[in-house]
Amino acid sequence: MAERSEDSEEVKLLGMWASPFSRRIEIALTLKGVPYEFSEQDITNKSDLLLRLNPVYKMIPVLVHNGKPISESLVILEYIDDTWRNNPILPQDPSERAMARFWAKLIDQQICVAAMKVAGTIGEERDAAVEETRNLLMFLEKELVGKDFFGGQSLGLVDIVATLVAFWLIRTEDLLGVKVVPVEKFPEIHRWVKNLSGNDVIKKCIPPEDEHLEYIRARMDKLNIKSA
């Protein structure tokens, strides 16, 4: 029988091994036991495939399912939850769903931006960025009280999105030369990171630490950012 790959149930993910936005899609697919083909993309030299599948933003990740592309990681995560109903990543209750979406948006649109400012600035500007990041993280800190994960007893949307904080911000603090998330100020977040680090799906889907730090160090050198 001839292969009709356009109509197949196949799931393909165009991603990048060091990107938090790409890794979060891998976490969701793995959580739900969805087999997928991973296509590593060179974001410094974008492929025709990527430009064709995401003409609006020309960015990874892009999920292709039944031949149709979907972009924007939060949109993809909701699509995955809508399509594969086992191990839901969003809660059932509408007000809890609204809260999960709210925190996910805060992480991507504000915490992520503030954290990038920490990496990209020095002196007073950096101090201000650190304070801004901490003020925003304090909301997440309070959310975790009495919970193993943001999703309760198991991983949910906010945990998946917040891996950005655990494995891209906290993990790179030594390189950045500033403890943005000190354990004395953020005991709950550190407890949560420990819980994440012990989870099989997370362990499987996050970038290996040594290679990841090497990659970031190289990028910082390239961008002339002083690494500690």
Binding site: P94, S95, R101, F139
Partner: protein, 227 residues
């Protein structure tokens, strides 16, 4: 549970506030509209949205829901048995609605705001080009999503219609101020037809700011302080 008092903290001129108002109307949910005074924030607002301190905030049995598009989804999920669904039923169509709604807020609206702020011919030309590029994308998105029906969501107004339609009054005010047609029948005929349908819908008419009143308000809030 769909029971419990519904209140909405907002302001008549805000396009973001208009979104949940249209959604509540579509679902025939009565609510108390708590208007904020321009320039100050009430205790209730600060308490209900401590993270952003912004409107709109929906209070359902005193539980707050924040962020306009998130509130619209909350309304759709809570009053799911009342009125038409605000999001399409197929996961891929839902993804498209969410994708374009995010694009509208993060790119299209930003271009509209830049147009208002642009000074000088060069800058204005660049912003117009960016804005029209966005319009072309939305024209195509409308054709793809609507599949021949009057709205992005099909037969009835939905999440994406609300997300874009809430900006129409401000778009008109900007067109008047700049003497430039930002939504042009020649360039985006489908969007223009859609805009007409949207503005005439009974769920939208009572909450769409009147252009003249909004233009007055815009003059007031954007007035440059006298030297």
């Amino acid at each position: 549970m769909a029971s419990g008092e519904v209140k909405l903290i907002g302001a008549w001129a805000s396009p973001f506030v208009m979104r949940p108002r249209v959604a509540l109307n579509l679902k025939s949910v009565p609510y108390e509209f708590l208007q904020e005074t321009f320039g100050s924030k009430s205790e209730l607002l600060l308490k209900s949205n401590p993270v952003h301190k912004k409107i709109p905030v929906l209070l359902h049995a005193d539980k707050p829901v924040c962020e306009s598009n998130i509130i619209v989804e909350y309304i759709d999920e809570t009053w799911s048995s009342s009125g038409p669904s605000l999001l399409p039923s197929l996961p891929y169509d839902r993804a498209m609605a969410r994708f374009w709604a995010a694009y509208i807020d993060e790119k299209w609206f930003v271009a509209l705001r830049n147009f208002l702020k642009a000074e000088g011919e060069e800058e204005k030309k660049a912003v117009i080009a960016e804005f029209e590029e966005g319009n072309a994308l939305l024209e195509k998105a409308f054709i793809d999503c609507s599949k021949g029906k009057p709205f992005f969501n099909g037969d009835h107004i939905g999440y994406l219609d609300i997300s874009l339609g809430s900006f129409l009054a401000w778009l008109r005010v900007t067109e008047l101020a700049a003497s430039y047609k930002l939504l042009d029948e020649a360039k985006t005929p489908s969007l223009c037809k859609w805009a007409d349908h949207f503005c005439n819908d009974p769920a939208v008419k009572p909450v769409m700011p009147e252009t003249a009143k909004l233009a007055e308000f815009a003059k007031k809030i954007f007035a440059k302080p006298q030297a």
